[in-house]
């Protein structure tokens, strides 16, 4: 199971990595901005993506769109991480096909629940035609 974590703050990246480790994920790739993430997606197949929303230049939604456009990207669980519960960005992300969202900072338990829900949602999305 390979996971991609995208965030422009090192602290947040490390925190997310720590949480994922606790949940048993070993193969974790860190990207420090959207552009790096988009490049990584081209060369590697990920099973789960955890991505910050507000980043310089390439935004979270751009990463999301790039993932959904990629050949096998329709069914990849994509969790958007925001700093506060901002309705606008979540609804925008829903339109772009996000699997769930999470508010930073979060606990391991919350992350676990969100990942489970995201896998369900992504599975349902992948089975849709078109």
């Amino acid at each position: 199971m390979s996971v991609l974590v995208v965030d422009d703050f090192q602290t947040v990246r490390e925190m997310m990595k720590g949480c994922l480790r606790q949940l048993g994920y070993q193969d974790i790739t860190l990207a420090c901005d959207g552009a790096e993430a988009v490049e990584l997606i081209k060369s590697k197949q990920f099973d789960l993506i955890l991505c910050d929303w507000h980043m310089p230049k390439v935004l979270g939604i751009d990463v999301l769109r790039a993932v959904r456009k990629s050949p096998a990207g329709k069914g990849i669980p994509f969790i958007l991480a925001t700093s506060e519960s901002e309705q606008g960005c979540v609804l925008q992300a829903v339109d772009a096909g996000v699997s769930n969202y999470i508010i930073k900072p979060f606990t391991v338990d919350t992350l676990k629940a969100k990942i489970e829900s995201a896998f369900k949602k992504a599975k349902a999305m992948a089975s849709l035609p078109g």
């Binding site: 901002e86 309705q87 979540v90 609804l91 996000v98 769930n100 969202y101």
Partner: protein, 865 residues
């Protein structure tokens, strides 16, 4: 009657046509009637009863959970009440006083049971059995749990005939240590079951172990029989069917107490009673069918009129009258031919029609009465339900797909959300923070993400004009296929809980302040004096035309730090607010600089007033000596001083001895209160930090000389806490212990014939990344510096005024004030500050200043030049 007509018409041509038309209409009507009757089949009724019982079960479980939650909130509020703590904290308080207080509290919160135990689980007082004392409750699981600081819900009964209580037991704590337990309980009685039946229609019994402890709706013997069938062993599931005493029932079980598994509720609905009710309706339908048949025969007669045409003028005229509803003018029968027979029969039929019409009228009258009765019964039932929901004090609104609110809502909404919500759209009633509330609600109903996740985006509170604290929760009502049919919004007034919490918070702050002031009396005296100066300077500077915002900002920041470290919340909050305005002003980012400056000026006055008020309110606590520069000297020290004077060595002066004994003091005294400041900050940031380590803290210095510098070192600690030390998870990931380390090392050194005092402040955090500093310099338009300076030199830029690589501003630090204050204070004393860092390993801040003697040497050297 029908048979008569058909036998006479059997051999006639017209008769054949008549028969054909009439019988087809009869067959049609009968089949329609039978079809309607078919709808109310047995199976449909049974399904409905089962569904209703499932709903009742859901209502019961929701009520039970809410009840437990409410009991807990109340129990915690009571346990946190200062009066409770002071009662429990007193050794050997008499039972009478304890009981009186408990009874007063119990009346306030309208509980049926309120009791407290000491740390051993021995009962101290109990309101429902006041005479009972010295009972050992230590074995009760809820009390046991509360005594180790946790607490749990519990259902509790003291025997077969004793009442059942639903109880919430919580610890009573003092300084975070439990000193006893407190239980709040409400009785579960027959009335509880009765109220429940009125609300849901289901009969209910409460089972304690294996006996019926309370019940309503059906005879206790029925519950006993259901119980005997072993229903409790079945996992909580769908309702089950039983036949008891010849009557069929659906029964369902809910667990009332998951901890003990001893208390259950059985809900029961009679299938046969429901059948009887629907049977009545069936009868009504049949009656309607028969009436229809008669009307049809009347209509058929009209139709036959069209078949038998003009030649039969008499019949035509007569039928014309019949059409008008006149049944009295009979046709004169002249012949016995087909028309004659028809006329005779027509006359008969007219008689029959007349009586039929009377019958129809009667039925209609009866029907009206029956419908009236049913409507009245329904109205009463609806009224009862509304009254119950209204009496709950919570606001209930049902939002339909599309966002509009159902006309039926609970009365409390009008007060809680300050409008009549019926027919309005939810986002017009409750302001939503986002721009697209309609889109959000569409997403909610369609569940584009799980309901709970999207509901998290809806407002959680309502801003009430009277400052009530209103919370909002969202619950989905689902149809059988799992889709969301409607969403119930529940508004609850939590003001009293919030106020209780705020009061507790205030008390805690006050206690903190007292502890800190008494622990650090000396620093506090210095702080008081310093603050007065700072406040005066702030006041003067802010009133100037075109004030120096950098200076003001530094002043206010220092006031904030000092007042925070002694928990003087009023001054701290004002300083924080003033600082925000100044931050905007100094960076030229204010939309309305004039208004911001006015605010700064006004708040400078308020801050000075708040500080004066604090001093006068706490004069007793602080002590009159705080205001003046008074010193307390222990007798032993005076004695030691006189001994030293008596044995003065060659070359020494008594001034030197005096200074050594009374003026100089261990340097760590100037830093010891920093630990108190670290605690609340690290908690807020979710970081773990060990107590500060002092190395060579016993070096003696003339503290008053360094007061400003030592005070400014606060900023170094704040910077380390905020930016340097990582959160525990990140530290672990980097192979470091979870808790961060901070240390102060003090040294006196002699360099180039001068005495220097060196303060090294070290953290083992992530270090400063020179790349970040360069990036920031470039952003500030200082590319050249970023390019030319070495890594070691570039990080010294952290001492520049207004320099911060973090974009967010926290309450602790991040506005770029701090390290520059240290450099400034060191400079004032003729010294300097420098920072050393190793990425991933930590940062050391070194401040070197000439000692008082060293300073004299420098002055001499300067004069020599």
């Amino acid at each position: 009657m029908i048979k008569n007509y058909s036998s006479k018409l059997k051999n006639m041509k017209l008769g054949k046509k008549f028969l054909l038309t009439f019988s087809s209409i009869v067959v049609l009507l009968l089949s329609v009637t039978l079809g309607v009757v078919e709808v109310f089949t047995k199976a449909a009724v049974t399904d409905r009863v089962e569904q209703d019982l499932s709903k009742a079960q859901y209502v019961l479980e929701t009520f039970n959970t809410n009840q437990i939650d409410n009991l807990f909130l109340i129990a915690r509020a009571v346990a946190d009440a200062p009066i409770m703590k002071s009662l429990m904290g007193v050794e050997g308080i008499d039972h009478e006083t304890m009981l009186q207080t408990l009874e007063g509290l119990s009346e306030t919160i309208t509980s049926d049971h309120l009791s407290v135990t000491d740390m051993n689980g021995t009962l101290l007082a109990r309101t429902d059995k006041p005479e009972e004392t010295d009972v050992d409750y230590a074995q009760r699981p809820d009390v046991e749990s509360a005594l180790v600081g946790e607490g749990m819900p519990f259902v509790w009964s003291e025997g077969e005939d004793a009442p059942i209580y639903q109880v919430a037991t919580v610890p009573v704590s003092m300084e975070d240590r439990p000193i006893g337990s407190l239980s709040v309980g409400v009785k579960i009685t027959d009335e509880t079951a009765e109220r429940f039946q009125k609300m849901t229609g289901a009969a209910m019994a409460v089972i304690a172990d294996d006996h019926v402890a309370a019940h309503f709706g059906v005879d206790a013997s029925i519950f006993k029989d259901i119980l005997a069938s072993g229903i409790l062993e079945v996992e909580h599931a769908k309702p089950k069917m039983f036949t008891i005493q010849g009557e069929r029932f659906f029964a369902a079980v809910s667990n009332l107490d998951e901890n003990s598994e001893r208390f259950h509720a059985i809900l029961v609905t009679s299938i046969d009673k429901a059948m009887a009710f629907y049977h009545d309706i069936q009868m009504m339908m049949l009656v309607v069918g028969i009436v229809g048949l008669i009307v049809a025969s009347f209509l058929t007669s009209q139709a036959s009129k069209a078949l038998i045409v003009t030649p039969v003028t008499n019949i035509l005229n007569a039928t014309e009258e019949v059409r008008k509803g006149i049944f009295t003018n009979k046709i004169n029968v002249k012949s016995q031919d087909e028309i004659g027979v028809l006329s005779t029969n027509f006359n008969h039929m007219m008689d029959d029609l007349k009586s039929s019409k009377e019958a129809v009228d009667n039925y209609a009258k009866n029907l009206e009465g029956m419908v009236g009765e049913r409507t009245a019964a329904l109205k009463t039932a609806n009224g009862t339900i509304s009254a119950m929901i209204n009496s709950l004090g919570q606001g209930f609104m049902v939002v339909e797909a599309g966002g509009s609110i159902n006309p039926i809502y609970s009365k409390a909404c009008e007060y809680l959300i300050e409008c009549i919500p019926a027919g309005k759209r939810i986002w017009d009633v409750i302001p939503h923070p986002g721009k697209e509330p309609e889109k959000l609600w569409t997403a909610l109903f369609m569940e584009t993400l799980p309901f709970e996740d999207l509901a998290g985006l809806c407002p959680a509170t309502f801003k009430h004009s009277q400052d009530r604290h209103i919370t909002l929760t969202y619950n989905a009502i689902r149809s059988d296929d799992g889709g969301i049919e409607s969403i119930v919004v529940v508004a609850t007034d939590r003001t009293s809980e919030v106020q209780a919490m705020q009061a507790a918070e205030r008390e805690r702050n006050y206690a903190n302040m007292v502890v800190r002031i008494s622990k650090n009396k000396k620093q506090f005296a210095v702080f008081t004096k310093l603050s007065k100066d700072l406040l005066t300077e702030t006041l003067n500077e802010s009133q100037k035309e075109g004030p120096d915002f950098d200076l003001l900002f530094r002043l206010v920041h220092t006031i904030k730090g000092g007042s925070a470290s002694f928990s003087i919340i009023s001054v701290k909050d004002l300083a924080h607010s003033t600082e925000s305005y100044l931050y905007g002003l100094k960076r030229n980012e204010c939309e309305d600089p004039a208004a911001a400056l006015a605010k700064v000026r006004a708040q400078s006055v308020e801050m000075a007033d708040a500080f004066e008020l604090f001093l006068s309110e706490n004069r007793n606590l602080i002590g009159a000596d705080m205001a003046a520069d008074t010193v307390q000297i222990p007798l032993v020290r005076l004695k030691k001083f006189s001994e030293k004077l008596a044995e003065l060595p060659e070359g020494a002066t008594w001034q030197a001895v005096f200074e050594e004994e009374f003026i100089m003091e261990p340097i760590k005294n100037g830093f010891s209160h920093f630990d108190d400041m670290v605690d609340p900050i690290k908690e807020r940031l979710g970081k773990e930090v060990n107590p500060i380590n002092f190395i060579n803290g016993d070096i003696k210095v003339k503290a008053e000389v360094y007061t400003d510098l030592f005070g400014a070192m606060i900023h170094a600690i704040r910077n380390s806490l905020d930016h340097g030390l990582e959160i525990p998870e990140e530290r672990e990931a980097g192979g470091k212990p979870r808790a961060g380390n901070l240390s102060f090392e003090f040294n006196k050194e002699r360099v180039e014939n001068k005495d220097w005092l060196t303060i090294k402040f070290t953290d083992d955090g992530r270090g400063i990344n020179p790349a970040n500093i360069r990036e920031k310099l470039i952003r500030l338009g200082r590319e050249q510096e970023a390019k030319d300076l070495s890594d070691e030199d570039v990080i010294q830029k952290v001492f520049d005024a207004g320099f911060s690589t973090k974009d967010e501003v926290t309450e602790t630090s991040g506005r770029g004030v701090g390290l520059d204050a240290i450099a400034f204070e060191a400079g004032k004393l003729g010294g300097f500050a420098r920072v050393f860092t190793r990425l991933g390993e930590g940062t050391t801040l070194v401040v070197s200043i000439p000692t008082v003697e060293g300073k004299a040497q420098i002055r001499e050297a300067k004069m020599a030049i």
